[in-house]
């Protein structure tokens, strides 16, 4: 625009110059007396001035027209036609225009970048809030003025405060536990450039006392000063509980494995030392060693099967299993053992369909385990009954093993399905691995989505039962 004004002013100046030169010619002719008639001089001067003005006007007009045309044509560059001064003016103008367009494009790009960055920042913040919200660890952030700036959901539950209400409040108002406050305070005073403070403590929080690991660190601002203190509290209660359970399991497993191993080692040593004087005694020792080896083998198998089911890595061979046939097969297996103890073993099988979708071997193992326990813990001359029934309403098959044995006290009944739990009264009666019923529970509840339970009265015998869902009929499957 500045250049355009300069070119128009140039045209105006040329016109003024031509007028001045005309008047000067007229004045000079008049002074030196070149003509006798002053009107002729005036007319001549006027004509000369008009001609020069007309030429100037036409030139300026042409330039203006070209300038206009070139300005209207945004994509063009200044042409090589026209006066040199005008080409220069146009080139300058076009350069300014190109620079302006470039600057405008750069600004728009920058604006888009800022918009994207803002969206990303908002997204990142929401993501961070979501992560903090679902974290099991409690996170508390306070600023350099000891005011709470963030409390996640876990911290709210642990400290007994609402996260939104805590923000802006002094640290001392939100955190009751003096030890946590002290650690945050010390972290703040130590400032940046110091390793995060890390220790274990007993937190006195909203859920009572709990073992916690606490990590507290300073967050620096852009000048390297402390902007905030971030504190993370990790509840160790569950880990301690798991560790305790593992330790107990290893201790019990070790005890159960060492017991048959002790017998085996001792009898072998007696045989080696010639302590068995006759063939009958030696044979007795061999049979004991064999029985203890089988016991040890069963124990290891049960431990591995439970472990595989718990880890979800056991291979399940599913098929349509007729529970009636399965129970009859298990009863045939147990008949010799029952007969040797003069126990009446019989079945009560309902004539209804009792097909389930399951692993036949595993289900058979459950029935054999329940029958084996019933036969072992029922006094000689007793009775063991296996019943099979189905419920079309709940679409499940029920199996129950009842005995006329010792019965189980309610305090023991709560625990009989736990690993290595042995009813004290029963230890004198027969040997067991302490894992049979736990394996049964895993097979029924974890593998077959069924239920297992016990009803018992001391002195009146026990009734172990389980239910498993019926198999879907082909018609239902097709539907």
């Amino acid at each position: 625009m500045q250049t355009l004004m300069r070119s128009i002013l140039g045209g105006v100046a040329l016109g003024a110059l031509s007028l001045t030169s005309g008047l000067a010619t007229m004045f000079a002719a008049n002074v030196i007396g070149l003509t006798a008639d002053p009107w002729l001089v005036v007319i001549g001067a006027v004509l000369f001035t008009s001609m020069v003005a007309a030429v100037s006007f036409m030139s300026m007009n042409r330039a203006m027209m070209r300038l206009r045309a070139e300005l209207e044509d945004h994509g063009s560059t200044p042409s090589g036609q026209g006066p040199r001064w005008l080409r220069s003016v146009l080139r300058t103008m076009m350069e300014y225009q190109v620079r302006h367009r470039q600057a405008e494009a750069a600004w728009r790009t920058r604006q888009r970048e800022l918009e994207i960055n803002a969206k990303m920042a908002i997204g990142g913040q929401r993501q961070a809030e979501a992560v903090l919200g679902v974290m099991d660890e409690a996170v508390v952030v306070c600023n350099a003025f000891r005011e709470i700036t963030l409390v996640n959901a876990a911290a709210g539950a642990m400290l007994g405060c609402h996260p939104a209400d805590a923000v802006g409040k002094p640290m001392a108002e939100v955190i009751d536990d003096s030890m946590v406050r002290r650690i945050m305070q010390e972290t703040l005073e130590a400032g940046v450039g110091v390793d995060p403070r890390r220790c274990e403590l007993t937190l006195h929080g909203a859920r009572g006392e709990s073992a916690c690991e606490i990590v507290s660190a300073c967050v620096p601002d852009d000048r390297g000063r402390t902007a905030a203190v971030v504190t993370v509290l990790h509840d160790l209660s569950r880990e301690r509980e798991i560790s305790q359970l593992k330790s107990e399991f290893v201790s019990k497993a070790s005890h159960e494995l060492r017991t048959p191993l002790s017998s085996m080692q001792a009898y072998v040593e007696l045989l080696v030392d010639g302590e068995a004087n006759d063939e009958a005694t030696r044979r007795e020792f061999y049979e004991i060693i064999q029985a203890e080896t089988e016991r040890l083998s069963r124990l290891v198998d049960n431990m591995l099967n439970i472990s595989r089911i718990e880890a979800g890595i056991i291979e399940i061979d599913r098929s349509e299993v007729d529970i009636r046939e399965l129970v009859e097969s298990a009863v045939r297996t147990m008949e010799p053992q029952a007969r040797s103890r003069r126990i009446d073993l019989h079945t009560e099988i309902a004539p209804l369909g009792a097909t389930v979708d399951g692993d036949a071997d595993m289900l058979c193992q459950v029935v054999v385990n329940l029958l084996s326990n019933a036969v072992k813990y029922t006094p000689e001359g007793g009775r063991v009954t296996v019943s099979v029934d189905s419920d079309t309403l709940t679409r499940s098959v029920h199996v129950a093993v009842s005995d006329t044995g010792l019965g189980i006290a309610p305090a023991d009944a709560e625990h009989v399905f736990e690993k290595f739990y042995r009813v004290e009264n029963y230890k004198r009666v027969a040997k067991g691995t302490g894992l049979g019923l736990n394996l049964c529970r895993h097979i029924i509840e974890t593998v077959h989505r069924g239920q297992i339970g016990l009803e018992s009265t001391i002195g009146m015998g026990s009734r172990f039962w389980f239910t498993v869902p019926m198999a879907q009929t082909p018609a239902k499957l097709a539907a």
Binding site: M264, Q265, L270
Partner: protein, 131 residues
């Protein structure tokens, strides 16, 4: 004169093995199936030594040792504890003055016999020469 030993364990095979080994070595052996049974037997006949399992129903090995200590008549009877726990009993056994030895299961009957003789102050060499 033969020494009397009471062996206490809820595992019948352990009772069988130790009885046989000790009887074959000239000891008089009584057996009890748990701590409660042992305490009944102690009332009628006092042994020179008790070998007891640690983990038993009703009355465990530690409780049996405490019971022995609480009665002046049995407080001096030495005890050997058998355990399948697999780790040291630590302070539990150390606090009981009558516990002379803790043996981990699985154990060697020969080792038990050796420990019994040592606790009772029987010269192993003399025994071997006599044999």
């Amino acid at each position: 004169m033969s020494r009397r030993i009471l062996v206490v364990d809820d595992e019948s095979h352990i009772l069988h093995v130790l009885s046989l080994k000790l009887r074959n070595s000239g000891f008089i052996v009584d057996t009890a199936v748990d701590g409660e049974d042992a305490m009944h037997q102690l009332a009628s006949a006092q042994p020179d030594l008790v070998i007891t399992d640690l983990q038993m129903p009703y009355v465990n090995g530690i409780e049996l040792c405490r019971s022995l200590l609480s009665d002046a008549a049995t407080a001096d009877i030495p005890v050997i504890i058998l355990t399948a726990r697999g780790y040291a009993l630590g302070s539990e056994a150390a606090s009981l003055s009558n516990v002379r030895k803790v043996v981990n299961k699985p154990f060697s009957p020969r080792t038990i016999l050796e420990q019994v003789r040592r606790v009772l102050g029987i010269d192993t060499d003399i025994m071997e020469r006599a044999a």
